[in-house]
C-alpha cells in the first residue's frame, strides 16, 4: 500500500493558499442582478399590511416579491411546514417576508428600507417548556394540516413537532425494586455553526431549466427541495457546487437557493444572493437548546435496574430535519452501558425562535453530556471511582440498543479506556476534594479530571462515483460528494482510487459537484464521505482495474492473472520488459471497445433491528458505529472562575485512517468546537430573540484558547469500508461537553449540569457549595 495511510495533500490546497479558489460568494456572471430578503423584525406577530410600492419605485429595482405574488406552499425535509415567505403571521425574527431584486446589493438594500409593514406584535413562545405547557398559544395554528416525508407519524400535536418514544413497559416496576434512585436535569444552549462564508446562491433560468450555483454540503438535497418548493420536476433543476467556506451542518438544507430561483425566473436575469453576517447569525440552523432529565433505579452494588430518560428539544419555528435528531436519544441511552430496562421519550417543540437544525454531531454533544454527567452523579452517590464504575457498567460485544440493534464491537470501547489509561493514568480527585478546598485559601488552582465515552455512527446514505481512466493514464473521479473542508473528497477519495489502481494520488483528480453530471450523493454529513462515497469509488476503480487488466492482457498476450500494476505501469510478473503504461492501455481501449469508465454505488445496509421497539423514528438504526473515549484534566481558578484545560486525551476508533493528518485535523477541529460549546460560546435567547448578535459577543475559540490535544487513533478496519475506513470527521465533538463538565465538577466539588461553564457559572457553583456547607 502506498497512497492509503499517506498524508497526501488536498487537491484544492494550492488554490486555497494562493487565494485563487472560487467560493460561492466570489461568483459573478453576465447580466447578473442582486437580491436581498426583507426579514421579520420581531419574533412573533400578525402581519396586518405590507406595502412594497415605494420599494418597487426605488432606484435600480427590477422586482419586489412577497408571499402573495408567488405560489408559497409549505415544504420541508421532514415536516412540510415552511413557506418561502411569511404571509399572515411571523414565526421568528429573521423570517423572510419579501424579496427585492436590484442592479446592486446596495440598491437592493436601499429598497428594502422602503418596504412598509404593519405588524401586531404578539408575545413569543420563547421556550419549549412554554410551548408544551397546557393552553399555550399555537406557533402554527394549522399544524394538523402539515404533511410529512413518507407520511410518517412523528406524533405531532399542537406545538409538539415530534414525540418519539420507546417504552418496554417494565420501567416503573424496576424503580419499585430500587435501593436508590438517582436523578438529574441537564440543560444545554444553542450553538451557532459560525462558518465564515455566508450562505449564497446564484440562479439562472434558461430554456425551461433552473441552474443554481451554490456552496452547499448536499447539492442533491438542494435539487430535491427546489423541486418540492417550486413544484417542478427534479430534472428541470441543475445544481453546481463550488468551494464551501465551512458548513458544519448549516449548509445541508435550502438557504437562499429557492428565492434566487424564483426571482431568476420572474426577471429573466441571473440572480445572486448572499446573506449579510447578521442575517446569517439570526437564521442559521443552530444546534438546538435542550433539557434532558434522567432517572436511574439502582441497586446498592451499582447495578442499574432501569433508566427513565426524557429529552425536550427546541425546534424553533420550523421542523427542518428535527425528527432525525430527535431519534438519536434511542442510540445514546441504554446503548454502551448496561442499564437493565429503559424508557426513552424525546419531544421536539415549536417556538417563536429561529429554526434549529444540523450541527456536527447533531444532538450527540448534549445527549452524551447528560448521559455522562449522570454516570458521574451515580458513581459519586455510590462512593465509587468514576472510571471504575464506568468499566463495571460498560456493556460487552453484542449488547442490544433500544431499537434492537446489537453493538457487535463494544470491546473496542473497553480497549479505548485502556489506551487512554496508558497515556494518562486516572487519578480520581474526588477523595482529595477536601484538601483542594483547603488549598484554595492560598489562591491555588483547583484541579479536576473527567472521563466520558460515546458511540457514534457513520451516516449510511447513498453515494455514487464514476471513475474514468484518461488516455494519458490520469484518473478523474466524477462525484457529487462535497468537501466542506475535511479533505474526504480532495484527499480521501483520490487516495482510495490511487491505491486501488496502483498509482500516485497526484494522478487522480476529482470533480466539483454537478447534479446533471454525477450520480446521487447524500453530501458531507455524518462522516459519511470517506466510508460511503469512498466505497463507491473503490468499487468503481476496481472495475476500471479489471478492464485495464483485460485490455492489457490482450495487448501483451499474457494471462490477466500474471499482470500487476505498479506506479501507473502494467507489467507481466517476472518479465521486466513486458509492460505498458496505463495511458497506452487507456488509449487502446478508447479506440477499440470504448473508454475505460466505471460507475459504482454504495449505501450502508441497515443493521438488523426491530422497528416495533420504538415509535415515530425518522432514523431507525445506528450504522457503522465508531467508539470514543475522552479524558480531560482541568484547572479552575477559584477566584476568577476561569477554567483552563490542562490536558486533553482522546482514543478514537476510525476503522482505518486513509489520511492521518486530515483525520487529526478533524479530531482537533471537532474538539475546538466542543470546547467553544462547553466553555466560551454564547447564543442566548431572550423573548424569542438572540442576545449575542456578532462575533465580538459570541466567544468563538481563538488560537490562544486551545489546549494541546493528545490523540490516539485506533485502527480497526471495517470490512465494508474502503481499505477499512469508517467515519472519522464528526464524532470528536460529541464527548467534549461531558468530559469537561465532569472534570470541572470534580475540581470544584459541585455538580455542573448546564453549559456553557462560564466563570460566573463556576463562581455561582462554588458559592452555593459554601452556602450548602455552612448551612
Amino acid at each position: 500500500m502506498t497512497a492509503v495511510g499517506a498524508n497526501v495533500q488536498r487537491s484544492d490546497g494550492e488554490a486555497k493558499v494562493r487565494g485563487e479558489a472560487v467560493f460561492g460568494v466570489d461568483l459573478a456572471v453576465a447580466r447578473m442582478l442582486h437580491a436581498r430578503l426583507f426579514r421579520a423584525p420581531v419574533a412573533a406577530g400578525l402581519i396586518r399590511r405590507i406595502d412594497t410600492s415605494a420599494a418597487r419605485a426605488s432606484d435600480g429595482v427590477h422586482d419586489v416579491v412577497s408571499g402573495a405574488d408567488i405560489q408559497n406552499q409549505r415544504a420541508g425535509v421532514a415536516v412540510f411546514d415552511t413557506p418561502l415567505f411569511a404571509t399572515d403571521y411571523i414565526a421568528y425574527e429573521g423570517e423572510p417576508i419579501a424579496a427585492v431584486v436590484a442592479d446592486t446589493p446596495e440598491l437592493a438594500e436601499a429598497a428594502l428600507r422602503r418596504i412598509e409593514i404593519e405588524i401586531d406584535e404578539v408575545a413569543p413562545i420563547a421556550t419549549p417548556e412554554q410551548a408544551l405547557s397546557p393552553g399555550a398559544r399555537l406557533v402554527h395554528p394549522s399544524w394538523a394540516e402539515f404533511g410529512t416525508v413518507g407520511g410518517i407519524d412523528f406524533g405531532a400535536h399542537g406545538n409538539m413537532v415530534a414525540e418519539i418514544f420507546s417504552d418496554p413497559g417494565d420501567v416503573e416496576a424496576a424503580f419499585e425494586q430500587a435501593d436508590l434512585v438517582v436523578e438529574g436535569t441537564y440543560s444545554t444552549p444553542r450553538q451557532y455553526q459560525a462558518y465564515l462564508e455566508p450562505k449564497m446562491a446564484l440562479a439562472t433560468y434558461e430554456g425551461g431549466r433552473y441552474t443554481v450555483q451554490v456552496s452547499h454540503q448536499y447539492p442533491f438535497r438542494v435539487r430535491d427541495r427546489l423541486a418540492q418548493v417550486l413544484d417542478v420536476p427534479k430534472s428541470a433543476i441543475r445544481i453546481v457546487g463550488h468551494h464551501i467556506g465551512g458548513g458544519f451542518g448549516a449548509k445541508l438544507d435550502l438557504g437562499l437557493e429557492a428565492y434566487a430561483a424564483v426571482l431568476a425566473r420572474r426577471t429573466g436575469r441571473p440572480i445572486k444572493m448572499v446573506n449579510l453576517p447578521d442575517e446569517e447569525r439570526l437564521t442559521a440552523p443552530c444546534r438546538e437548546n435542550a433539557v434532558v432529565k434522567i432517572r436511574s433505579a439502582l441497586r446498592n452494588d451499582g447495578t442499574i435496574l432501569a433508566q427513565d430518560v426524557d429529552v425536550v428539544f427546541d425546534s424553533g419555528a420550523y421542523a427542518n430535519n428535527g425528527p432525525a435528531g430527535a431519534s438519536i436519544p434511542m442510540f445514546m441511552y441504554a446503548s454502551i452501558y448496561r442499564v437493565g430496562t429503559a424508557r426513552i421519550r424525546s419531544r421536539m417543540a415549536y417556538t417563536n425562535t429561529a429554526p434549529t437544525g444540523a450541527f456536527r454531531g447533531v444532538s450527540g454533544p448534549y445527549l452524551v453530556f447528560a448521559a455522562e454527567r449522570h454516570m458521574d452523579q451515580i458513581a459519586n452517590e455510590l462512593g465509587r471511582d468514576r472510571r471504575e464504575y464506568r468499566l463495571a457498567t460498560l456493556a460487552s460485544d453484542g449488547h442490544k440498543m433500544r431499537n434492537g440493534q446489537a453493538l457487535e464491537e463494544l470491546s473496542i470501547l473497553h480497549k479505548a479506556f485502556e489506551l487512554v489509561e496508558a497515556r494518562a493514568p486516572w487519578s480520581d480527585q474526588g477523595a482529595d476534594q477536601e484538601a483542594d478546598q483547603d488549598t484554595d485559601q492560598n489562591g491555588e488552582k483547583l484541579r479536576g479530571i473527567g472521563i466520558a465515552a460515546a458511540v457514534w455512527l457513520t451516516n449510511p446514505q447513498p453515494g455514487q462515483a464514476t471513475v474514468k481512466l484518461n488516455e494519458d493514464g490520469g484518473i478523474i473521479i466524477v462525484t457529487a460528494a462535497t468537501d466542506s473542508g475535511s479533505g474526504a473528497v480532495t484527499t480521501g477519495l483520490r487516495q482510495i482510487a490511487a491505491e486501488c489502481l496502483g498509482l500516485s494520488a497526484d494522478h487522480v483528480a476529482v470533480t466539483m459537484p454537478d447534479t446533471d453530471v454525477a450520480g446521487f450523493d447524500a453530501g458531507s454529513q455524518g462522516s459519511r464521505t470517506t466510508h460511503v462515497a469512498g466505497r463507491a469509488v473503490f468499487d468503481a476503480t476496481s472495475e476500471v482495474r479489471r478492464r485495464v487488466l483485460e485490455t492489457a492482457a490482450g495487448m501483451l498476450e499474457a494471462a490477466k492473472e500474471d499482470l500487476l500494476i505498479e506506479d501507473g505501469i502494467v507489467r507481466v510478473a517476472g518479465v521486466p520488459d513486458m509492460s505498458l503504461s496505463l495511458g497506452q492501455v487507456a488509449m487502446a481501449a478508447t479506440f477499440s471497445k470504448g473508454p475505460i469508465v466505471a460507475t459504482a454505488s454504495y449505501t450502508t445496509p441497515p443493521p438488523p433491528h426491530d422497528p416495533e421497539l420504538t415509535k415515530g423514528m425518522l432514523f431507525n438504526t445506528w450504522p457503522t458505529p465508531t467508539y470514543h473515549v475522552h479524558l480531560a484534566e482541568v484547572e479552575v481558578d477559584p477566584v476568577t472562575g476561569k477554567v483552563t484545560v490542562a490536558r486533553y486525551v482522546i482514543a478514537q476508533e476510525v476503522g482505518r485512517a486513509i489520511n492521518p493528518d486530515a483525520v487529526m485535523g478533524q479530531v482537533v477541529g471537532g474538539v475546538a468546537q466542543g470546547l467553544g460549546y462547553t466553555l466560551w460560546e454564547r447564543m442566548e435567547i431572550e423573548d424569542g430573540r438572540y442576545v449575542q448578535r456578532n462575533f465580538e459577543t459570541h466567544g468563538l475559540p481563538l488560537a490562544c484558547d486551545m489546549p494541546k490535544i493528545e490523540t490516539i487513533l485506533m485502527e480497526h478496519p471495517e470490512p465494508a469500508g474502503p481499505y477499512g475506513a469508517k467515519g472519522a470527521a464528526e464524532p470528536s465533538i460529541v464527548p467534549v461537553a461531558a468530559v469537561i463538565a465532569n472534570a470541572v465538577s470534580d475540581a470544584i466539588g459541585a455538580p455542573i449540569d448546564s453549559i456553557p461553564i462560564t466563570p460566573e457559572a463556576v463562581l455561582d457553583a462554588l458559592q452555593s457549595l459554601e452556602h450548602g456547607v455552612s448551612g
Binding site: 493558499v17 487565494g19 460568494v25 462558518y195 465564515l196 458544519f248 485535523g665 456578532n694 488560537a703 490562544c704
Partner: protein, 160 residues
C-alpha cells in the same frame, strides 16, 4: 453616485501602481474584490472581527472590511495574491499545505497575511507569539493546531 463625489487615490497593490476613483465610504475590501477582482481576500463578518479580509497596508495587517479606501492614498497594499509568484509558493503557504492546516480555506488568505507580517517582524516567534498574532483571525475548522505547527516549522527553517 455622481462623479464629483468620488475621490482619486494612488496606491500600490501587490507591487502594481493604481490610480482609483473611489466613492466616499467605499471600503478597501470592496475596492479589492469588486474593482480589482482580487477575490482571494474574503468577506466574512464585515465588522473587523473574523479577520478573513486581512491585508497588509505598509506591512501592517488590517481588516480591509472596516478600512476606507480613501485612507490608503499613497500606501502599499499586499493581498494573498501577492504572496508568491506563479512557480513557487511562499514558505508559509507551502508549510500550511505540508501540515494539513487548510480545511475549508475561507480564513486562509487572511491568516496568511497576518502570519506573513508576523514572520517579517519576528522571524523566530514562540508558539505563544503565534497564538497572540492570530487573535484577530478566526478559524472554525482546524482548532488552530496545525496552523501553529506550520508557522513554527517555517520559523525553524528560517533560523540562522
Amino acid at each position: 453616485m455622481t462623479a464629483d463625489q468620488t475621490i482619486t487615490i494612488q496606491c500600490t497593490v501587490n507591487g502594481e501602481a493604481h490610480a482609483l476613483a473611489v466613492a466616499p465610504g467605499e471600503t478597501l475590501l470592496q475596492t479589492l474584490r469588486n474593482r480589482l477582482w482580487l477575490t482571494g481576500t474574503k468577506e466574512g463578518c464585515l465588522e473587523g472581527e473574523c479577520g478573513a479580509c486581512t491585508v497588509l497596508v505598509d506591512d501592517v495587517p488590517v481588516d480591509a472590511c472596516i478600512m476606507a479606501t480613501g485612507a490608503v492614498d499613497g500606501r502599499d497594499i499586499r493581498t494573498v495574491e501577492g504572496l508568491s509568484d506563479k512557480e513557487r509558493l511562499s514558505p508559509l503557504q507551502q508549510a500550511l499545505l505540508d501540515h494539513a492546516a487548510v480545511q475549508c480555506g475561507f480564513c486562509t488568505p487572511g491568516l496568511l497575511m497576518t502570519l506573513t507580517a508576523l514572520l517579517e517582524q519576528q522571524p523566530s516567534p514562540s508558539p505563544a507569539e503565534v497564538e497572540a498574532a492570530l487573535a484577530g483571525n478566526l478559524c472554525r475548522c482546524t482548532g488552530y493546531r496545525q496552523i501553529i505547527d506550520a508557522v513554527m516549522a517555517v520559523a525553524e527553517e528560517q533560523r540562522p
